[in-house]
């Protein structure tokens, strides 16, 4: 059966047997789960025993594009990597944009499933549907930039590559997968799973295209989306990218400082987006854009001077927040050097920064002997930050312990309470005592603490008010970040809505700037020819995906008891800023959240709700 939007094919790579096979994409499942995070979760749920060790060959790695990926719709340039996480023990879904994502579609596939493990390092070349396995022994140990160049040289000049660096090879539990010289599927350790399979890289050369069900309607929808993205303030994003939010976050008292001990940083100006543009940025009129992107938020920076200057992608806001403020270096050069190490080693900057901040606090409290680390590790020491980041990537000395993640490191010393995260994954760069909706979003996100699967900060501090979530409630102004009113239902709806963005294959940025649920639905429907059932149907699909992620976690042994926050957030009033005196009121938000989800009082999906979402077959219970 021919399909539009979707390519209709799934590529299965068996690394144990060095064999590839192609299957048809099940149209009914595609309609129920769309693509990206939705389709990938369904494959993971159906094919991987959640009890398996994440780094065992029985775990699988699912690469899933969306039906809009590569179509030219604005920001439709992403793919999702899904697997069982070696960091959280639950579901991992980590997304990246770039030519690599589009190339999967152009080569003829919606989904690539990697299973088994190779005996020796390999890379795979997918050349318009022809698959070959190659020895990668000589690539093992190369950084991600070297690897990408070497794989392109060995395959085709127009091949697009994703790969791991030394951190993935050494199974750092938060290793990421890099593609297109600087884009990262950053969180939850997807790179460690790729490393456990001894898969160094996947190169894809695709010369085909994506067919569209209703070309006229689709082009009309695309035109209206681009019109919605004509924002008079978009130049700010060109110039400052995501670091442009840092001073606003600090003003709201939500900038993590010294491992989330404080919510404001007196030296915030030293690490602001403006300061980055004035100092290290080398593209200050327009950032680096992914395919079909009118925003171009990507930073390119330089550290050092003359012949020793180093160039690279980043730092993003999250990286600056964690390395710059939570580790309190307040030094953009140190932040950028650590960022470049993470890019080259293939390592999540958020968890790296959060883990080091945790170690810094424990060092200052005398809970980690200096002899264990090998050098002093106080807050603010940029040199120590850069040195330790490199040690983690190499699993050298104390870096070997930190490569397990901040939670396991802190637990090793008997004090897991100093690890700031959820489900053993570090918080992003938002202090949730100052944004109460964020506390609920952090606690309930299936992949662990996360800021982009349900962006509760958007309607609280970023004035994003054009989605149904706010419009349908008559909310015309930003919500007070300290209020709890309506948060349980709104966070739930955000989580479900973002599942659709991440299933379509689009970038969240398009939706801050002007696009909404109806436009995304119009794009998906006109590209694929399906009827999503209006806005209610779209949200039902989002809820189906979210619940299936939770079901995977439950089968992996992660119960609702893990929907919690560190004691600091729940018990210690924030000591500074506009949220001074506040704790995270999770206990007041969680029960109504479970009720809104249609779950029982234990936080488990009820049979009635499962049936309503069409999950009775997938659940198997």
């Amino acid at each position: 059966m021919t399909m539009d939007g979707w390519m209709g094919k799934v590529l299965r790579l068996d690394l144990t047997a060095s064999a590839a096979s192609v299957e048809d994409l099940d149209r009914e499942i595609a309609e129920q789960y769309i693509g990206g995070i939705g389709l990938g979760t369904r494959y993971l749920y159906d094919e991987v025993d959640p009890a398996v060790d994440a780094l065992d060959a029985a775990n699988k790695l699912v690469l899933a594009t969306g039906p809009l990926t590569g179509t030219g719709a604005p920001g439709a340039n992403r793919y999702m990597l899904l697997t069982k996480s070696p960091l959280t023990g639950g579901i991992a879904n980590s997304s990246a944009a770039g030519d690599f994502a589009c190339a999967i579609k152009y080569a003829g596939f919606d989904v690539i499933i990697v299973e088994g493990a190779a005996e020796r390092p390999v890379f795979v070349f997918i050349d318009d549907g022809r698959v070959s396995f190659h020895d990668a022994s000589e690539l093992w140990g190369l950084d991600t930039e070297q690897t990408e160049q070497a794989v392109i040289a060995a395959t085709a000049p127009d091949a697009k590559v994703n790969c791991i660096g030394p951190a993935g090879e050494k199974l750092v539990r938060y290793a990421c997968v890099m593609n297109d010289m600087g884009r990262a599927a950053g969180r939850s350790g997807v790179g460690a799973v790729m490393g456990s399979k001894r898969l160094k890289a996947i190169a894809v050369r695709g010369t085909g295209g994506v067919t569209i069900a209703d070309g006229e309607r689709f082009m009309d929808a695309v035109r209206r989306c681009y019109e919605a993205l004509t924002d008079p303030y978009v130049e700010h994003f060109h110039k400052h990218g995501t670091p442009g939010v840092l001073e606003l976050v600090n003003t709201y008292g939500a900038l993590p400082t010294k491992n989330f001990q404080y919510g404001t940083n007196p030296q915030h100006e030293d690490i602001s987006g403006e300061r980055l543009a004035e100092t290290l940025s080398v593209r200050t009129r327009m950032g680096m854009a992914c395919p079909a992107c009118p925003v171009a938020c990507g930073r390119v920076s330089r550290v050092g001077a003359g012949e020793t200057a180093t160039y690279g992608v980043g730092p993003e806001y999250e990286t600056i927040g964690m390395f710059g403020s939570s580790c309190y270096t307040n030094d953009l050069e140190a932040v950028t050097r650590a960022n470049f190490i993470c890019n080259q080693a293939g390592m999540d900057t958020i968890t790296t920064g959060g883990s080091i901040a945790c170690a810094m606090e424990m060092y200052e409290r005398g809970l980690i002997p200096e002899a264990d680390i090998g050098f002093p590790l106080p807050f603010g020491d940029g040199e120590a930050l850069v040195r330790l980041t490199d040690m983690i990537a190499r699993r050298e000395g104390f870096g070997d312990l930190l490569a397990e993640g901040g939670y396991r490191m802190a637990e090793h010393y008997g004090h897991p309470e100093y690890s700031m995260g959820v489900k053993k994954q570090e918080f992003a760069s938002y202090e949730c005592r100052a944004i109460q909706s964020m506390a609920l979003a952090y606690a309930t996100e299936p992949r662990g603490a996360c800021h982009i699967r349900g962006e509760a900060q958007d309607y609280a501090i970023y004035s994003v008010l054009h989605w149904h979530i706010t419009k349908d409630r008559g909310i015309e102004e930003p919500l007070d970040p300290l209020t709890l009113d309506e948060q349980p239902e709104m966070v739930m709806e955000l989580q479900d809505w973002f599942r659709i963005i991440d299933s379509g294959g689009l970038c969240n940025f398009m939706f801050y700037l002007g696009m909404d649920e109806d436009q995304l639905r119009d794009l998906i429907e006109s590209a694929t020819g399906i009827d999503m059932g209006g806005y209610p149907g779209l949200m039902r699909t989002g809820a189906r995906i979210f619940n299936l992620e939770v079901l995977f976690n439950r089968r992996a042994g992660i119960t609702a008891a893990a929907d919690t926050l560190p004691p600091r957030m729940l018990q210690e009033p924030l000591p500074d800023g506009p949220a001074k005196g506040y704790v995270a009121e999770l206990g007041r938000m969680l029960p109504p959240y479970y009720t809104a989800r249609g779950w029982d009082e234990h936080g488990d999906l009820t049979p009635q709700k499962a049936a309503e979402l069409g999950l009775q077959l997938a659940a198997g219970t």
Partner: protein
């Protein structure tokens, strides 16, 4: 100097030509007076206001980190040492 400190962010720094300005409290006892004082050119006024007495929806004005929408809006009283921050829309962290 005692008074109220106004900090401008992102593209508003270009519009206003400054990052920060100190205003004596007697000239800015509340937010309405303060904005009237600092938005003293057509370009500056248009950057902050949609119409007379109505700030643009996407502009965030915060007093000590609290959005005036959660306080008394334009009638929010100011005190010695208060910090007022004015932001254009920023998103995407």
């Amino acid at each position: 100097m005692p008074g109220v400190t106004v900090r401008l962010f992102a593209d508003l720094r270009t519009v206003f030509g400054v990052r920060m300005v100190d205003v004596p409290l007697e000239r800015a006892p509340d937010i309405a007076c303060l904005l009237g004082l600092v938005c003293d050119t057509p370009r500056r006024w248009q950057a902050v206001f949609a119409e007379p007495g109505v700030p643009r929806r996407e502009i965030a004005v915060l007093v000590n980190g609290r959005n005036i929408r959660f306080l008394d809006r334009l009638e929010t009283k100011l005190c010695e040492g208060d910090e007022v921050a004015i932001f254009p829309p920023v998103y995407g962290g």
